[in-house]
């Protein structure tokens, strides 16, 4: 059981961004991806989610054996268990957080079944309290006028409410203050379970002190070029990416 990405290639317009990417996150594990700006990390997340701007030109992604690309619509993939916390979450004017998450949960129920409103709010408030999000946020439009850190917390709130099987966190630590980083990490750690896998995209080793990864991958130019344990993150933090590129050239 795993999130398995095989030989994945994808374009935006005429430009190839992902160039035969391989990666497997077994269920129950946390994997981290690090890599320079523009190496294709967010592209990977969006391609998996089914963003309409990207064209998949080869390879496959399977979710516990389920072919993701056989599901046309992004919402089908989401309901199959994939969640992406975006690097730049969208603002949705007029749609409150409470209504948004409620609609997302409702979409997972069989036809004709109604979400219990009281239970829903109890559950929502509990998760908000844990993430130290003011309850007043429930009536604010999704991400509208939120600070950078508030947006990230709201992404984690959605993840906590939707209980995905595989979650991709794209730079969820960027923009968080020191306390928020701790709170959000606790939130993610509380969700770690043998029944769930995480793919954490980050630029900073510091996050990985809180959310300790099983494997760290390095992405260069649309490919995973190196994988290791958490110490690889320390080395990248200390030395940057130049040595990685040299090492690949040497072995190529």
């Amino acid at each position: 059981m795993s999130l398995k990405i095989e030989n994945l290639s994808a374009n935006i317009g005429d430009r190839q961004i992902l160039k035969g990417l391989n990666l497997e996150v077994p269920k129950g594990q946390v994997h981290a991806i690090m890599g320079k700006n523009g190496s294709g990390k967010s592209t990977l997340a969006k391609v998996m989610a089914g963003h309409p701007d990207y064209e998949v030109t080869g390879g496959s992604v399977t979710l516990d054996g389920l072919n993701l690309f056989e599901m046309q619509e992004p919402d089908q993939r989401a309901r199959a268990g994939l969640f992406v916390a975006f690097q730049y979450p969208m603002e949705i004017p007029g749609v409150t957080i409470a209504n948004f998450i409620r609609a997302a949960l409702q979409a997972r129920l069989p036809e004709g079944e109604e979400l219990d409103a009281v239970e829903y709010y109890e559950h929502l408030y509990k998760k908000m309290d844990a993430l130290k999000i003011d309850r007043k946020f429930t009536s604010r439009a999704v991400n509208e006028g939120f600070s950078g850190g508030e947006k990230k917390r709201c992404e984690v709130l959605q993840m906590a409410m939707l209980n995905p099987v595989y979650a991709v966190l794209d730079e969820t630590d960027s923009g968080l203050d020191i306390d928020a980083l701790r709170i959000v990490s606790d939130g993610v750690n509380a969700m770690r379970s043998p029944e769930r896998g995480f793919l954490v995209i980050t630029h900073y080793q510091r996050l990985l002190d809180y959310i300790v990864p099983d494997v760290v991958h390095v992405m260069v130019d649309g490919r995973i070029v190196m994988s290791g344990d958490k110490n690889l993150a320390h080395k990248l933090e200390a030395q940057g990416y130049d040595w990685v590129e040299k090492e690949i050239l040497a072995t190529a």
Partner: protein, 468 residues
Amino acid sequence: METKPDLNIDRSVGDFHYDVDYEFDAGTGLTEKTIDYISDVKEDPDWIREFRKDALRKFNSMPMPTHWASHDLENIVFDNIRYYLSQGTQPKRSWDDVPEDVKRTFERLGIPEQERKFLAGVEAQFDSEAAYSNIKAAVGEQGVIFVGSTEGLQKHPEIFKKWFGKVIPTGDNKFSALNSAVFSGGSFIYIPPGVKVKHPLQAYFRINAENFGQFERTLIIADEGSEVMYMEGCTAPKFETSTLHSAVVELVALKGAKIQYITVQNWSANVFNLVTKRGLAHEEAEIKWIDCNIGSRLTMKYPGVIMKGRKARGEVISIALAGDGQHQDTGAKMVHAADETTSNIVSKSISIGKGRSTYRGLVQIGRHLKGCKNNTECDALLINTDSRTDTYPAITVRGKENACQHEASVSKISAEQIFYMQQRGISEAAAMSLAVNGFVNDLVQQFPMEYSVELKRLIDLEMEGSVG
């Protein structure tokens, strides 16, 4: 026996029709003969026959307003339209007496059920005439009159004649002239002084025939200190050819009276909906239009209030939803003609795909007046980049002691935002519904419960249809 509707019907609740034998049919095209036919069938008094003929002359002499309005109007072929179709001019007082096929139609649209649940009276118009018209006994005993326009002019000429055509003169525009020439159906309502009708009166307008024009005429008079809420709904099946709906609605609120007029239209995409609606508010009277326009090919409608007496109040709250290939050209007209009159306009439009919304507002405050206020708020939501919205506010305020406030906003829901919502497991149609319902929510909360539920359901259906 009710047959089970096939699945396609869910797209648009009103998209079905039955073959009906019409007893009266004025044929296609519009001449003096058509008018004589209608007047004969309806046994019009001479003054109405003359009124109609005068209106026909005005209609023929007036140009299409394409110098400011959509050129799509030129696609209406007046010669191909049928101007009068009915199975008789007398509406039934009991659903049991309504002909089977017509009754089936209204049952499918849920009208008798709503009547039992929460209405004070119902009129159900099928093509040119009301098939059913009834008012709860208790309401009738208060002296409330709720009948069709024909019965109104025949049985209550003293009230009817005084106000008919006074708020909206025949030559107000080409389509008010057309309506005045061939009008049939619609409601005549009179509320006696001080009577407050607790539950809403409802009219339902159903177009069943192809190549048909529906021209109902409604006149509501609320006498001093009375209150009434009137709601109208409308549907038509989807035909290949175009259908014309051109109504005239006149409201008169005498001193201290309150009229609330609520429309939730759900026309199919082949309907030209060209409607003139205006109210006359006397001293301290209040007229409020709530207008929800969903569907149709082209809607042109600018409900207005003439505030004729001191401290009169006018309000227009409108929601227009333009799906692919539709054009909602709506707005409001506020004429302040006395001191201390106040008006409020809130317009929300939604354009999807190639849908187009236009807002036209007119606010007039005379130079000699004091203490008048207008507030106009005009918000547009664009879903997908092709959508288009235009705003043409025209505000003429004269005199220093009056205040006008105008706010406008445009928000957009892009493919990127829809994608974000879909990533949470919400389907494209549900995501659009969520955005639209969020956008109109503050307005919908002011609607009666039954109508807000209905509106939400229509929005959901429209979104499903637009995703295809």
